[in-house]
Amino acid sequence: MSTMTYQAPMNPDDLVQKPTRPWRQKPRSFTTAVALAVAIPAVISAGLFFYSSIPGALVLTVIFFPLQLLASAIAAWSTRGVRGIADSVIIVNAIGSTVFALVVLLSLIGSLVVRGLRALSAHFVYQNSVFINPSTPLEYGGIGHALLGTILIVGIASLIAVPIGIATAVYITEVRGKAVPYVRFFVQAMSGVPSVVAGLFILTIAVSTGWFSQNAFAGGLAYAILMLPTVARTAEEVLKLIPDELRTGALALGSTRARTVMKVVLPAAKTGIITAILLGIARVIGETAPLLLAAGNNDGTVFNPFGQAIASIPVYIFNNVAVPYPDAVARAWGAALVLMILIAVLFTLARVLGRGRVGRAK
């Protein structure tokens, strides 16, 4: 009876397959085959790499990779039959892709640390660049003005985007009005706005209205556009985790909806909302294009957010990359390292707080 519900496979390979018996220990022949499949291509390629004149890139792509595929296929075929070959191809490709991604990441982080440390020093963090030109040695000048600018711009962006983002999340999870699907749709669409378009938008407003010019406020507005979707979506996820008993309990005690949200729900979600804010800041802090357009650049320190153009770390890096002076390039790497450390700190804080929230949920 029960066999009737199971349609017999049409594929002859599926018909003749043997059970795999996963509970059995792997036989020694399997281990040997895998070891050989790993060792032989590696040894041959290493030999060619060191003792022949074939370029390394060619050895890797034309010799090592096909050889590895072939060796793995043979090993799989000898231990598991024809059906193992497809698996071996997937495994080799999967490991290869992982190694590729890791090499890229390692190269990025490694070069950032190695080259960035050359420029890094105490004065690099607090001095500005008023008397600095690209050929000035590294003993002078720094990113103090850019750091201050980034903090001002991110602060303004947070002042605008955080309340609106949290209110959007409250609308979706607490008020639950009729427009919830549309609001979510627009928030998601907004997260697809390219950063350069956000900068252009603020620039158009500035040009067409004449209310402000390139300054920290304009940069903050552009950042706020990019920050809002991240804050809103993360805060929404966080508010969803707050148990309904808290809300119903507060309402049952006679609290109004507004009070329930302000005095019960939001305080309960405090760490999660801080996480949302941190993730929002980390999302925007490295964006360059909007600041190039909306905030401009400055070699001196600017304190007034509504005054003249202001420097920021991403723009500082941008201006020092393609400069034919090694010290200027070293400054770019140093500033990049500082920026990356800032982002890493923000993400780590967000992770730690996020973990705390889950732990306290019950």
Partner: protein
């Protein structure tokens, strides 16, 4: 197609039974309107209005971008005619300046296609490794590392690509040209291998890989373990399990993730700025020939030396088309991801 296609027999039934989960049953209390009798407090009404108003900020911003940049696009069409889209060139010395962004629009798409061709297989294989092959601890570490890669700002990727990736990549392209030069896309007549669409596409791929990986990893890891175990019990190998269970199950989400990556690639500005030599002749398919186009990079590179309001207007109009393209791709991607998410629950 074969019988194994029938393996996900459990999913439609599971989806309905989960929706009738007891936790979802008493949600009618929560859907009460704030303006209903129970909470007709004036403070509540004010609160509700403020929050609702704030919730529509995203719509206002999107509409604002569309209107402000759209106005600029209209005036660009008035001065340039349809040639603004369908011709190629950027001459600011004539009066009024003549400009056509076809090469840039096409270049953006070409870069994105090159990036996708590299990023999609890598990201898919990476997520398969993380979900089905790696031990759990290694997978957790890899997830964090991929998140780290996603968090690196584009200006740092650009810096790295300019100094670290570019020199070896030029060598790779020379090899490609040397051995595969008979294929039209690998032709290079100038022997100049810097600033090519290939390098820019490679950089875009590096920026897309974390996005596509994190979404397809999540989608694949949501494959019900019952189905995976059942497939293994039926004697499926890894490949058959992927082919008939996991990939069909996560197909929509993976496509959505790829499109989200595409949206990012189309809007990417700074990293491309450092590795692509911007040329106004359309580079149709010579991907290892120096010079290409990118609409986002055009805006940043021309903005620094913008000659006057006419040229600024042209750049803003170009930004309008960038906005239309990326928003369109992003909306479609989100719809696909959301639909798959619903189907999987």
């Amino acid at each position: 197609m074969f019988v194994m296609a029938g393996v996900p027999f459990g999913c439609p039934q599971t989806s309905t039974s989960l929706r009738q989960h007891p936790d979802m049953a008493h949600s009618d209390l929560e859907q009460r309107d704030l303006n209903s009798a129970a909470t007709s407090h004036r403070g509540d009404r004010v609160f509700s209005r403020i929050v609702t108003g704030a919730a529509f900020t995203s719509l206002i911003v999107l509409a604002g971008i569309a209107i402000f940049l759209g106005v600029q696009a209209v005036s660009a069409f008035q001065s340039q005619g349809l040639d603004f889209i369908f011709s190629t060139g950027w001459d600011i010395n004539t009066d009024p300046p003549t400009a056509g962004i076809w090469g840039m629009l096409y270049g953006s798409v070409l870069l994105a296609v090159i990036g996708l061709a590299i990023a999609v297989p890598v990201a898919l294989m990476l997520s398969i490794f993380m979900v089905f092959l790696a031990p759990q601890k290694l997978a957790a570490v890899l997830t964090n590392l991929i998140d780290l890669l996603a968090a690196i700002p584009s200006v740092i990727i650009g810096l790295w690509a300019f100094y670290i990736l570019n020199p070896p990549a030029e060598g790779w392209q020379e090899l490609l040209n040397q051995y595969l030069g008979w294929i039209p896309i690998f032709e290079n007549t100038s022997q100049n291998f810097s600033g090519t669409p290939f390098i820019a596409g490679l950089v875009l791929a590096i920026m897309m890989i974390p996005i596509i990986t994190s979404i397809s990893r999540e989608v694949l890891s949501r494959t019900p373990p019952d189905l995976v175990n059942a497939a293994e019990a039926l004697g499926c190998s890894l490949w058959t399990m992927l082919r008939y269970v996991a990939l069909p199950y996560g197909r929509g989400g993976i496509v959505g993730g790829v499109m989200l990556g595409l949206g990012r690639a189309l809007g990417e500005t700074i990293a491309v700025f450092f590795v692509l030599k911007l040329t106004f002749e359309t580079n149709w398919y010579h991907i290892i020939e120096s010079g290409g186009g990118s609409i986002a990079t055009l805006i940043v590179s021309r903005f620094g030396e913008v000659s006057g309001p006419e040229e600024l207007n042209l750049l803003l109009a170009a930004g309008f088309f960038l906005f239309l393209g990326t928003i369109g791709v992003n909306i479609v991607a989100n719809l696909i991801v959301a639909r798959t998410g619903r189907m999987q629950k």
